[in-house]
């Protein structure tokens, strides 16, 4: 029996036929990268291959690396194995990786979402035999509401805080969520200020997407000028001394985890907005169906629960351990420090 097209080993997801890794977590010679978040694009690989629009993002994070960019649907062959990138809709430049060899097709999603956020190229289902999917929010408790409605809530919240003479501080991780938030803020209410980590990343994204004007908060920024405006900051800024400049302020967080009342209370955040760059329960199920796959491999998230459910639905589904963290990693860890 020939080895599976993609296998999970100590370094990452390995394609033996091509001798390349997909989103490896240990340094390897050749890595095909789905998107720019730290748990998927790590330091130390000799060669990176990723979608064009992800190139400036990982360069910003990883410095000078050897990287080649490919277009959507543009296939390239390594040792007779055909690879191509397809939109994942997770953040700007995020891709699913399609792998084809001897008539067999596998798709690795990286992270993805089904809703069009107006920034990332929207997710497209790709037909395959085996689908390797994340399931960060693979529980029926997760149901997203359309982003228009969420941004209406966010803007109302900002206006209300401003009317009460308070500054709004909204937390979101610096690549992806932060830009999604500031793109839809209603600048007729006030001005948008940013934490340094957010501003650095946004400068890179500005090359690719039009963003409203923002002002970086520096040591020179006067306390009085921020008042009543909105500040976008990474979650790690919560509880730091940096935040004292914004007094009096109200905090908000935009994340899929805000579904849980406990998650918000635990972080001592005032207001939670349910807004995620991952699929919700129905999003995952519909995506899997749309691929027409027979086999599903669940990586990070509620993978045991989700794969059990899929098996009951008639899929050949299993779980593989990876070191991807999904939105939890983005939210809980101090990953943001890297980009400060």
């Amino acid at each position: 029996m020939r080895p599976p097209l993609l296998a999970f080993n100590q370094n990452g997801i390995y394609c033996e036929a091509a001798d390349v890794y997909l989103d490896p977590w240990k340094p390897v010679d050749k890595a095909i990268i789905s998107h720019g978040h730290a748990d998927h694009s790590r330091y130390g690989h000799k060669k990176y291959i990723t979608h064009h629009s992800n190139v400036p993002l990982i360069k910003h994070r990883l410095g000078e690396i050897e990287v080649s960019g490919k277009g959507w649907n543009e296939s390239f062959t390594i040792n007779g194995v055909k690879f191509s990138f397809h939109p994942a809709g997770h953040i700007i430049g995020s891709a699913q990786i399609r792998v084809e060899h001897q008539g067999e097709v596998w798709v690795f999603t990286g992270d993805y979402k089904t809703e069009d956020d107006g920034i990332a190229v929207p997710y497209e289902p790709v037909k395959c035999h085996t689908f390797i999917t994340e399931c960060t929010f693979g529980l029926p408790a997760f149901k997203w509401i359309p982003q228009d409605k969420v941004f209406e809530d966010i803007n109302n919240w900002w206006q209300e805080n401003r009317d009460n003479g308070q500054t709004s501080i909204l937390f979101g991780y610096s690549l992806g969520k932060a830009q999604r938030l500031l793109k839809y803020l209603d600048t007729s209410i006030g001005q948008i200020y940013t934490h340094g980590a957010i501003e650095n990343m946004t400068e890179v994204v500005r090359e690719l997407v039009v963003m409203p004007p923002t002002t970086r908060i520096t040591r020179e920024t006067k306390k009085e000028e921020i008042k009543g405006n909105i500040v976008i900051a990474p979650p790690s800024a919560h509880g730091s001394t940096w935040i004292r400049k914004m007094v009096p302020y109200v905090t908000g967080s935009a994340s899929g985890w805000m579904t849980f009342r406990g998650a918000r209370r635990r972080r001592a955040i005032d207001k939670g907005f349910v807004l995620s760059d991952h699929c919700d329960w129905q999003g995952l199920l519909q995506s899997i169906k749309a691929t027409g796959c027979e086999k599903v491999i669940c990586t990070h998230g509620y993978s045991d629960i989700f794969s059990r459910y899929l098996r009951e639905q008639g899929y050949d589904a299993r779980t593989e351990e990876t070191q991807y963290e999904g939105e939890l990693g983005q939210l809980e860890a101090d990953k943001e420090k890297e980009s400060e």
Partner: protein, 530 residues
Amino acid sequence: MKAFAQLIKKLDSTNKTTLKVAALTEYFNQAAPKDKVWTIAILSHRRPPRPVNTTLMREWASELSNIPLWLFEESYHIVGDLAETIALVIPPSDASSEKSLNQFLEEIIALKKMPDQVKKEYLFENWLHLNYYERFVFTKLITGSFRIGVSQKLMTRALAKATEIDEDILAYKLMGNWDPSKISYNKLILEENEEDYLSKPYPFYLAYAIENEPENLGDISEWSAEHKWDGIRAQVIIRNDELFTWSRGEELVTDKYPEFEKFVEVIPNGTVLDGEILPYPDNEIGTFNDLQTRIGRKNVSKKLLEKVPVILKAYDVLEWEGKDVRILPFSERRKILENLYHSIISHELPLRLSETMKFSNWNEAVQERENSREVKSEGLMLKRLDSPYLVGRKKGDWWKWKVDPLTIDAVLTYAMRGHGRRSNLFTDYTFGLWDDEKKELVTFAKAYSGLTDKEFRSLDAWIKRNTLERFGPVRSVTPHHVFEIGFEGIAESKRHKSGVATRFPRMLRWRKDKKIEEANTLEDLKALIP
């Protein structure tokens, strides 16, 4: 219901106490009287008896949301709150109900006697036609306690603002047994009603833990000291030839401690004593573990009464000759109490005095505190001699000064997800100690407090990566982390696998410097049993 759900949403949208009080005050200013009574009842943990058992609710919720029951259960373990889980998994709705909170509660109370099919239809109807917050609140009213980050104290403060009635007076009015389905807002809050006060306890005065050196409390001659007893804080009321015993949790526990009935014959009417219920087997103070056997029992058997009799260790008097004496200085109240005690000592009641001690310097107090475990106390209580009896937890006049806990180094073996603000986070841990041969870890205690949020997060991430096996919500983990576990007391126990029961175990330190081989053994723990 709309207004109440809005209130809950508002309370949920802020972490700031002042804003929570403002939201509650606004609600109390506008809500209908009957709705106010229910809101007060709910936020002081008085709810109607549960009309539907939770097993059925889980089954029905999984049916309505078209997911298998096991998946509902898994979701519940992760969300950490049944009502919240139900509100999340059922298909969303934007609808809202025009019915008042009172109407809903009347329906819920009536539901209890209905056949299951009617209950099911009622739940389905409401689950499908209420928006998220209304659905959450509706389900919460059915499932149980409303723990939403608003304490009874906070609610009382808001009510005081809305009614302009003194907060302490309101706290008193809200004590004891009152039935929200029968009482009117006027009667509960606005009217003065003497006869209702027959069984009413006074709000307990609670001490803070001493923060730094006791010398900072000033001249020791201004202070009275006594041992801090480890039992159940209680008020015993004797009025109109009747006796009522209240626990600190505002639970009427008269029937659980029939020993005290004799008080009525001897202690004059119009007396309220504050003290500690203590187990007293063999005519001496027992362990909290002994008392544990009495706490859960509603009907106490004769055998148990003989095995673990209790006494009231009295330390204060709040009412005397029918008058509220809380305003008198502590020294005066003690005189009344001691005179009473000595006048009835010949009756051999299950009543003892919590003896006060006078020290000439703080060093003597320090030495007496060292002696606490020998006299079966948890440490010392310091009370200012000229202090009145206050309401609730207030700083300044009363301090608890506990002995340092006993400690042992143990290994983390199992973890479970927490509830409420700890939902989806592994924060409830089981710890093991080595057996004689240092081969196996024997479970000895569970603990879920003592770490910082940051430590909990990092341990949570580690647990998720180092799970060995899953048993429903519980995971066994690779033995790797050592924690210093502190506890207040220790006793032999047949109910525990380890043969030892510890009192209030918690994590004192994460011993990252220790390997699991360096953790203590069960023998080390047993050596601590007095």
